[in-house]
Symmetry: C2
Subunit: 418 residues, 2 copies
């Protein structure tokens, strides 16, 4: 009962705040973002102290080194957060544009006005730097946000949200526009997901299990950021040097992220030439290869890939490799095992590029480019809230404009329906 009331109060005040945020001037929002950046920097010692409590508790609970690293807010990460907030301030305001306005035969003028979505719920896991990022992006788009971070980061998040919210309010942001669920009770999440009259959109960011749970329980629209099982298909008409450069970059430039390559598909015509030299380069940096039977004929020392491997997002220096007979076979593999995130073809053949673009149903389809380029910054959107693997509203890299919606505006002079 207590939790229900607690969440009800949060969502009610967030809704009220969102109504005030609608008409906030661009300069107020940008000033709020700059003060948030300064606030985080000025309170760096306090943030590190509270974060230290979380890290210590996590260590005692026996969390892995990688988990501890994601939880830790170093000086570098704190400066990074402030920098990100300043970059968001520098972005153009997505709200207020009147798009596609036309005069219709009756004389009415009809257009779409870009407006904030309202209240956005963000449910995420251990990384506390998401807190500043998500708050900043939601604010820029004129939304109120309710943040629900991981329980391991609770002290860091309470500290950060207090700093961010106070700094933003001092610049004129509506009170309660940035709020945190300050309890680690899981019931708070299910309560949030039932509040369809108050929250307009939920964005879960984290592992597969978190996202599945959110989708199963939510009555509110959800935009999912699922995993990336990304492929590069090296065609028989590929420039093999270019292919090697792209594959190397896509796998090792930053293996722990969703747009890294997880499976390499090689056309049989070039497999004997390409696979040995590619694998040699990967061996030099310690990439473990798991291959199909035909890959293992060419490179006998390679481990055997299981059926599960083709579905797996390793997020690590591991790569599955499969030899295919045709572009069609590559597309069928991608459609069966891929996660519709980002997939690329390397080829010189124009018709194959067009077939790949048409038939691969992924949020980003690339020709002769590294899958690592699938990113809001690279695409020109500025800071991104994540990479949507959903098809509705926003697909692929999701920038600040994707945190807005539109309303139809009709200007008339007394027109009626005849």
């Amino acid at each position: 009962m207590q939790i229900e009331e607690y969440v009800a109060e949060k969502v009610r005040t967030a809704k009220a705040a969102s109504r005030r945020m609608v008409s906030l001037a661009t300069r107020v929002k940008d000033e709020a973002l700059l003060r948030m950046a300064r606030g985080v920097e000025d309170s760096a010692e306090l943030v590190k102290q509270q974060n230290g409590r979380d890290v210590e508790a996590a260590r005692q609970k026996g969390l892995s080194g990688a988990m501890l690293d994601r939880l830790r807010l170093s000086d570098k990460r704190i400066i990074g957060m402030a920098q990100e907030l300043r970059e968001i301030a520098a972005l153009p305001d997505p709200v207020g544009a009147l798009e596609e306005m036309v005069r219709r035969p009756s004389g009415i003028r009809v257009g779409k006005l870009r407006v904030p979505i309202g209240v956005i719920g963000i449910i995420y896991e251990s990384r506390p730097d998401v807190t500043a990022d998500a708050a900043g992006l939601c604010l820029k788009a004129g939304n109120a946000v309710i943040l629900r971070g991981g329980s391991e980061a609770i002290n860091s998040n309470i500290c950060l949200v207090k700093i961010l919210s106070e700094a933003a309010c001092s610049a004129g942001m509506a009170e309660h526009a940035i709020q945190l669920i300050e309890t680690t009770d899981r019931k708070a999440v299910t309560e949030m997901l039932k509040a369809e009259e108050w929250i307009d959109l939920v964005i879960p960011r984290g592992g597969k299990e978190l996202i599945k749970t959110v989708v199963e329980h939510s009555r509110i629209p959800v935009i999912k950021h699922y995993e990336g099982v990304c492929h590069i298909y090296v065609d028989d008409e590929a420039d093999l040097e270019m292919a090697q450069k792209l594959c190397f970059n896509a796998k090792i430039q930053r293996p722990g992220v969703c747009n890294a390559m997880e499976t390499l598909l090689v056309n049989a015509e070039v497999a004997k030439d390409f696979i040995p030299r590619m694998l040699e380069q990967f061996a030099q940096v310690g990439v473990e290869i798991r291959g199909c039977p035909r890959t293992r004929e060419i490179a006998p020392k390679v481990k055997k890939a299981t059926e599960d491997d083709w579905y797996t997002e390793y997020l690590d220096l591991i790569l599955s490799v499969k030899v295919v007979d045709s572009l069609e076979e590559a597309i069928i593999h991608i459609s069966q095992y891929g996660s519709a995130h980002t997939d690329a073809i390397v080829t010189r053949n124009y018709f194959k590029t067009q077939q790949f673009i048409t038939e691969v149903d992924s949020s980003s389809v690339m020709v002769n480019a590294s899958t690592r380029l699938s990113d809001g910054g690279v695409y020109g959107l500025g800071a991104e809230i994540g990479i949507s693997t959903d098809k509705l509203h926003a697909r692929g890299p999701m920038g600040v404009k994707d945190l807005t919606t539109y309303k139809w505006v009709v200007y008339g002079e007394g027109q009626i329906r005849e």
Copy 2:
């Protein structure tokens, strides 16, 4: 167990069909739509015969006259369906446009390619003319569709879908791209709503209860078409003659639809002048008025409006009337009791129009125009699949372009992430 397998087979074949629909040429889709129109006309006798069985069964079950009317497929309605399909054929193809393509600093070119959504599930109630409409719009946008109509219309729908699907396939449409759930078992709906790997979008069209059930059970993204509790606010600076014309049209031109006015808000400054003459005109056509206490001071014969009245979508010749002291009070009323569908202000004052547009959070906000104009045809979208009361993906009148999504396309010449 049988139902589960039945639905699983439907969604599996629909997904396969959707992959073939992606690359269907515009002329094939348009020819399919024209043949569907001809098919419905040529089989009019058969359709009426099957529809007669439904109407007879409904009559024996004691359905109301209005329900029977909505169920009945007259010659006029059958011609209307064919006409609608021809209009959809005449619309531009929304698929294939490459939008916002830019060259980025690294030299890659990035743009958004407009593509079909995939598989769309449409869950609707008694009106069988929705069947042709929904199938036609989904086909035009390159989607596969799974239709689930009302149990009262089962024979009509089986007959119609057979005609539509055969006609479309004869023109080259992928088999299974138009399918009907041919059972009235409700379990089929819950099975559909769990098929998140196969169905990309669910659109419920019907009463509040239907939509609530769908939202509660669906793991698939839903675009809701809720009710319209539409308001007109007559300001103290309104042209009262224009206001009278707009209010009359908004209430009586077609009272049974979602964009008809349900509540009239009148500024106190003009209430004594406006309310008597407006009510007199409404009395002439038999509109029942339910008023607030101040309305009843001016017009003592008016019934008392209860708290429930302000929330009610009458869909009938009934209107609630409230006197308010200011624009602000009108906006607060609309935000509390409205359904965020369509709301209008009548005024000469520029600043009030801008405040109304900014602060009323509805899918359509209108100035000096009848709420009945909230319509895909009127707005220039062509045929509409409905009027979305959701904020994500599509808001307000939803045309064929809203049945598509985009994928990011990246053209490179070997670019990597530095």
